[in-house]
């Protein structure tokens, strides 16, 4: 008998998940989640997908209440999924703080992008940063010289209070510095002198007000300016010291209104070789230690020459004229193709290589939003909600995510719904996303059903007794009650 019990117990334990490497149950659901794996080649960072409340508490140092947003949750009824992740340094496994936005996180459900995704950023952490603003100093920036001219738009954007707040936050103990540079064939400070780190709001305003509209125009050496800012500038003693002492991250914002144009005979195709060199230099700079590597944003003022341009899936080693310019590869830039639009392809490629983003804006508000984004806060962890049709929760599926900016990284994890039962569905939330319900809600199903059974159990005898009470009364004798002839006989007499 004892051996039978032991055998049963052994079988039971054998049919249980191994706490070390088994599928982790997702609390409040019947789903389980496997071990996340890093997805993709040459990842620069580790994307750490969090699988349970314990992991959230341990890795993010959250309280139980704070961990509520971090705990993964899946729901077949609404097709909704939620997970949280953080970014970790590949080398020393320290958490990294990045300003990831919704568009930087590419989510996939069984290798297909879900139609609805929402990213919520948590644990905002202002970090020390050095903003390097590279402003195009070419003649076209000053044409026209009215409020509608490019340089005035940049001026208004730089003087926007929200942009200034972004560069120099009013609260917090972090230090921020701004390098205001103008580039033509050389890169110089706004005042024409060598680069200088501006660390106060007043100084910043003074420099912008006094020198923004000044300067002697020249050719647009955009690529050289980017080369300089990711290379020599960061090696400059003053800049290097400032960065090292404050553990600041350099963020470069290169702003132009046209093309890289070094001489009058340049055509669009001429830039292909130059851009290849620049991209290589940017990529090399990005290989430095995380936290010290520059992030490159590029901004075009005006409208894109090639709005349909899409970045190649794999970063190209060599940029060809056709890739960069399409049908404009032989078009002269000066007073030619630059009048049609901005070289958005170059800007996209440089931003992609620099781990940042590329923008084309035509108003000073739009430009201000770019500067704000470049100065955005960094976040400790991210919560991703997404929705697909519930149909796609009827078998196990791969949940994947990739970063498309700031750093190369991605992760994939397999999620296992139950093939038999589900927990109560999410309740509709005010924000259009379902919110978890308490397990007590199951009582609203259980109790009515049990009540029905109980009522059914009593209905039988109750209705039977009621029917008898109504229809099985004494039958009255016709014509009164004559005395009986005899009483019932007594037994035994």
């Amino acid at each position: 008998m004892r051996s039978a019990w032991l055998l049963g117990l052994g079988l039971l334990v054998a049919g249980c998940e191994d706490p070390k490497d088994g599928l982790v149950p997702i609390e409040g659901t019947t789903y389980r989640i496997g071990a996340p794996a890093q997805d993709g080649d040459k990842n620069e960072v580790i994307v750490d997908m969090l699988r349970s409340r314990d992991e959230c508490r341990a890795k993010l140092e959250l309280t139980d209440e704070q961990a509520e947003d971090c705990v993964p949750r899946f729901d077949r009824a609404t097709g909704q999924g939620r997970f949280a992740f953080r970014i970790v340094d590949k080398v020393n496994l320290d958490p990294l703080f990045l300003p990831l936005a919704e568009e930087n996180i590419k989510v996939s459900h069984d290798n297909r992008p879900p139609p609805e995704v929402r990213v919520t950023r948590h644990d905002a952490r202002p970090t020390s940063q050095l903003f390097i603003l590279l402003i195009d100093g070419s003649q076209s920036m000053h044409e026209p010289s009215t409020q509608e001219g490019p340089v005035m738009k940049v001026y208004n954007a730089l003087m926007d209070p929200s942009v200034i707040d972004g560069f120099f936050p009013k609260t917090g103990s972090v230090e921020r510095g701004v390098l205001l540079l103008r580039f033509t064939d050389q890169v110089r400070g706004f005042d024409g002198g060598p680069p200088r780190v501006i660390t106060s709001r007043k100084e910043y305003k003074d420099v912008v007000q006094n020198y923004m509209l000044a300067g002697s125009p020249g050719w647009t050496h955009l690529y050289d300016a980017v080369d300089f800012s990711v290379g020599k500038l960061l090696e400059d003693a003053i800049v290097k010291d400032w960065i090292q002492q404050r553990r600041a991250e350099p963020t470069i914002v290169a702003l132009t209104d046209g093309f890289n144009n070094e001489q009058s005979s340049d055509s669009c195709g001429t830039n292909a070789g130059r851009l290849t060199d620049t991209l290589e230099k940017v990529s090399t700079a990005r290989k430095s230690e995380f936290g010290k590597r520059p992030t490159v944003y590029t901004v075009g003022i005006g409208r894109a020459l090639r709005p349909g341009f899409r970045l190649p899936k794999v970063a190209p080693r060599q940029i060809s004229p056709s890739m960069l310019c399409g049908r404009y590869q032989d078009s002269v830039i000066n007073r030619g193709v630059e009048l049609l639009g901005i070289d958005n392809a170059s800007l996209d490629l440089m931003a992609a290589a620099g781990g940042g983003k590329s923008f084309v804006k035509s108003t000073h508000k739009g430009l201000a939003s770019v500067f704000q984004e470049a100065a955005a806060e960094r976040y400790g962890w991210y919560q991703v909600d997404y929705r697909v049709d519930g149909f796609y929760h009827r078998r196990s599926f791969d949940l994947g995510m990739r970063l498309d900016a700031f750093a190369r990284g991605g992760a994939k994890v397999r999620v296992y719904p139950s093939g038999w039962v589900d927990a109560p569905a999410l309740a509709p939330g005010d924000d259009g996303w379902g919110k978890p319900v308490s397990f007590r809600v199951t009582l609203t199903l259980l109790l009515p059903l049990l009540s029905l059974l109980l009522i059914g159990g009593f209905w039988g005898p109750a209705s039977y007794n009621a029917r008898r009470a109504l229809f099985r009364r004494a039958v009255k004798d016709k014509g009164g009650e004559p005395p009986p002839s005899q009483t019932p006989p007594t037994m035994g007499t």
Binding site: V13, G15, E17, G419, A425, L446, P461, S485, P488
Partner: protein, 338 residues
Amino acid sequence: MNIVLIPYTWTRHVAPGLVTGSVALFAWWGWLIYYTVLAPKLFSMGLLLTLPAQGFMLLCSVSALLAGTSVAMEGALYRHSVLRRAATIVAVAFGTFVASAIAFGVTGGIVGVFMGQEMSAIAADGSLVTLRYRVMQWIMVGLMTGLGPVVARRGAGFLTHAFGGMVSAGIGCATWHYLGFHLFQDYYLASALGFFSWGLFYGLLIWAVPRDLYAGWVRVLSAYRYGYRIPIDSLQGGLSERFVGHFPRGLDLFLPVERGVAELHVSALVDGEQNYAVRGLSVWPTLTRRMLERVDLRYDPRSPAPLQTYLHNGDRMVLSDGVNETHLEFLLLPKEER
């Protein structure tokens, strides 16, 4: 379960279903607590069942519980000793669990044989929601659920149990799949109602409260001696006959001649298989009335044998001399109501 609360009506067929339905519902709820509320703790303790074991444990445990409940109800109604009840329940539940486990595994294996290699890989996914690869497992486990109590009942009602077990599990499976796959798109309500309907139909189909727990009575409905009743069954069981008339001595139920009752008017009898009948023994008018039916049992002097008709619960007998009438009724009451 109490026999006093189960009249001899449709209730005796429905009552077991209500109990097994609620047991199945509680089983579903218990598993839901296990998988959603307790799972994180149990996982860290190494006591959380693997995903492929989920369906196996759900079906087999509900199967064992339903079979155990069926014999538990029987033990409660027959007032078996607590020890005997407990032993029967444990034996039947354990046996059913083992049989269901074997049926689940074997059926899964057989279904696997008929699948292609590609489909095998898909079907092996413990998360796959499928009717095609699960329906046979439901039905075979249902068969075992039906057959478990048959052993305790020594083979009585074998086909009813087997058929009822399979049909009830089939209904449960259909409910589970239809609601989950087509109507609600999730398996919360679908699983609850699936297991509930399995339990409900299991109780309805395989076993009703047995007739031998009831005894037949003849009861006076007329004003004189209203409510007086005599049992038809003897204490030893078997064939028994009770006589009604105005003969003053020796009859089972005396009723006065002034009420239109002959000296020996009718007799009520029961055979060895507990079928009840009433015989007309007098040439005076004798009528048995039930819904939409009247049976004249007046004795025909040209026929050597008296006329008789089977009695059903609630039938009325009207004894008369042409002027006065006495009304009797036939009742089936729990034997405990003596």
